[in-house]
């Protein structure tokens, strides 16, 4: 019997693997915010253990999650706040509210209220900033896109969570860390709207920002490699309808390419997740494939674009890349997983598995196209996972 990690590694390797691996993208603890998910996994532990970074307790939650869902990877094996920060912050639950207290020695005690994530799901995590008035030159870029080198990150104890996960699951599961794309990260950092204008008004500055972000990401890639991650995941959203292919190629691609090579050189698998990509952006898809990430994951079709796995397999084969790039399933989390009948779910899982195994020689990892929605019940997720195992088996 193969371990989850062996299954994933086999799918990245050559030759048809025994079983198609099954994973869930974005299945980290922060995602499971619906009351059923957290309660099911946390088994009575309070929600704020995520704020206080109580690593032993969080590990127990992951253990329950894995026992119930049994994915082949551990998603979210990322950095945590520094050891210093964790030492100096404590959660204070009162009858009225829950507070975070900063007890850093020598400074005034600060206290602020922390909120339980709402039962209906996620709330804002990305403020919409505008740094156009602040970052105007290459010097500003260097000043504000702060670099922490790999050694410092490790020294500060920001890898304690990752280390704990690797220690517990490193043998059994594929450890996946999230790095983000330097391109999208840079635009988000500068502010989504102002960065869109930079594409036309000051592409040089934008490129400097993207390159600097790539340097920063490469440092975290080094950390992940050093601490025992098996792969990194990068979401790219400046694709598809967002910007032109020429701009993607000129400003985004070289930096992404650098991150891919850095990861590969250190033995990590690089999985690229460009959203909004389908048949009508085929030239873009092909351009992305030229960079040869180890894995490519296309989101489910949101606005009617065709991102079918069968089409993906045919594009990769036409480019003769079928031995180099692994593709991912993209079961629709809304139409199929959340709202489809059991028959529809089974049919789709079976179909995608068949494509992966028969049309793409098993260099395929079963997944949903985007995160599971909080309206989807845990029972449904378990039903889905069982189906992926059933149809993923070789015989």
């Amino acid at each position: 019997m193969m371990t989850g990690k062996e299954r994933v590694l086999a799918a990245f390797g050559k030759g048809s693997p025994e079983d198609i691996p099954s994973v869930l993208c974005y299945a980290n603890l922060a995602m499971w915010r619906g009351p059923h998910f957290w309660d099911d996994f946390a088994e009575g532990k309070p929600w704020w253990i995520r704020n206080s970074w109580d690593i032993p307790k969080l590990l127990e939650v992951v253990e329950t999650q894995q026992r119930k869902i049994d994915m082949d990877w551990i998603w979210g094996a990322g950095l945590c706040p520094s050891r210093e920060w964790r030492k100096n912050h404590m959660v204070v639950p009162t009858a009225r509210a829950v507070y975070m207290r900063d007890i850093t020695p020598g400074s005034q005690v600060m206290q602020y209220r922390i909120e339980e994530p709402p039962p209906e799901g996620t709330h804002s995590v990305y403020p919409n900033v505008d740094l156009s008035g602040i970052i105007k030159t290459k010097e500003d870029v260097e000043k504000y896109v702060y670099m922490r080198n790999a050694e410092t990150i490790i020294e500060e104890g920001r890898t304690d969570w990752l280390e704990a996960l690797v220690k517990k699951y490193g043998e059994e599961k594929f450890i996946l860390s999230n790095v983000g794309s330097p391109f999208s990260r840079a635009c988000d950092f500068y502010g989504p709207m102002p960065s869109l204008k930079l594409f036309i008004r000051n592409p040089t500055l934008l490129k400097q920002l993207v390159d600097r972000m790539a340097d920063r990401i490469i440092e975290t890639i080094k950390v992940y490699a050093e601490m025992g991650s098996d792969g990194v995941w990068a979401w790219e959203w400046y694709t598809g309808e967002m910007i032109s292919l020429d701009r993607y190629n000129a400003i985004g691609k070289p930096a992404v390419q650098r991150c891919i090579r850095a990861a590969q050189k250190l033995g990590l698998k690089y999985i690229y997740y460009p959203t909004g990509v389908g048949k009508d952006w085929q030239a873009g898809f092909e351009s992305i494939l030229e960079m040869k990430p180890d894995g490519i994951h296309l989101e489910d079709s949101k606005k009617g674009f065709n991102a079918d796995v069968s089409w993906q397999a045919s594009v990769l084969k036409a480019l003769n890349l079928q031995d180099e790039i692994t593709i991912f399933g993209n079961v629709h989390p809304i139409n199929i997983l959340q709202e489809g009948t059991s028959e529809e779910l089974e049919r789709e899982v079976k179909r995608q598995n068949n494509v992966g195994r028969n049309e793409y020689a098993g260099k395929f990892i079963m997944d949903t196209g985007s995160p599971i929605t909080p309206e989807t019940t845990l029972e449904r997720v378990i039903e889905y996972m069982k189906l992926t195992r059933k149809y993923g088996r070789k015989s």
Binding site: T122, M242, I243, E375
Partner: protein, 225 residues
């Protein structure tokens, strides 16, 4: 003083259109000023020049010939020109807007690019737009709709979790007895969802959003007549 030289007038109007099509805000502003100085009918300069330009860019965007950076800058150029020309429109009748629209992204959702573009396009096409921003609770939509006497309320949601807020907005609007029509949109919104929420319509691209708003505004007016 009205313009004598027809070719000059045409040049200015074409220039305004081209400024938008070429994503050139400075030229849009310069030509808007020139139009005013030379007595070109401001409404005509807006409709035949700037709006034609942004419509063209919008079409290119749908056809994937133009992308977000182009669209954002073109829309800003168009709106900058309109801001200069609009106060010059003299006749009362011509000044009448197509309707008042309150638009925002729902609570818990910070995606605003699509909403912002829709808002800009609606404004460029003659609506009076009140963009309340992103991550806005139901009450903010209601409050603004009441305050300005909105004809239409537009709610954008980009995730499956947050789209439920659209339904809440519809319910609250009905509960409060507000007459405004409700249109929704965003990556996870389709016809089935639009119907389920009880909203008056949805659109998944810019042109459809503008046509829908025009349609809803007309219906609204018929109903109140």
């Amino acid at each position: 003083m009205s313009i004598e030289n027809v070719s000059n007038k045409k040049e200015i109007i074409d220039g305004l259109r081209n400024a938008v099509v070429n994503y050139d805000e400075e030229s849009a502003k310069r030509l808007a000023k020139e139009a005013i100085e030379k007595g070109v009918e401001p409404l005509e300069a807006i409709q035949e020049g700037l709006v034609k330009g942004i419509t063209e860019v919008g079409e290119k965007f749908s056809a994937k010939e133009a992308f977000l950076p182009e669209l954002v800058i073109a829309a800003e150029a168009c709106l900058a020109g309109i801001a200069l020309l609009k106060p010059q429109i003299k006749s009362k009748k011509q000044m009448k807007s197509l309707g008042k629209i309150v638009i925002g992204t729902v609570y818990g959702d910070i995606h605003f690019i699509g909403k912002k573009l829709v808002a800009m396009m609606l404004e460029a096409n003659g609506f009076e737009v009140y963009d309340i921003g992103e991550d806005q609770p139901v009450e903010a939509f209601i409050k603004k709709a009441k305050e300005v006497g909105a004809d239409i309320v537009g709610a954008s949601a980009l995730t499956t979790t947050t789209r439920f807020e659209q339904e809440e907005i519809v319910k609250a609007m009905r509960r409060e007895g507000l007459k405004a029509k409700i249109m929704i949109g965003g990556a996870v919104v389709d016809a089935a969802w639009a119907e389920m929420t009880g909203s008056d319509g949805y659109a998944d691209n810019l042109q459809d959003a503008v046509s829908l708003a025009k349609e809803l505004a007309e219906h609204g007016q018929e109903e109140t007549m």
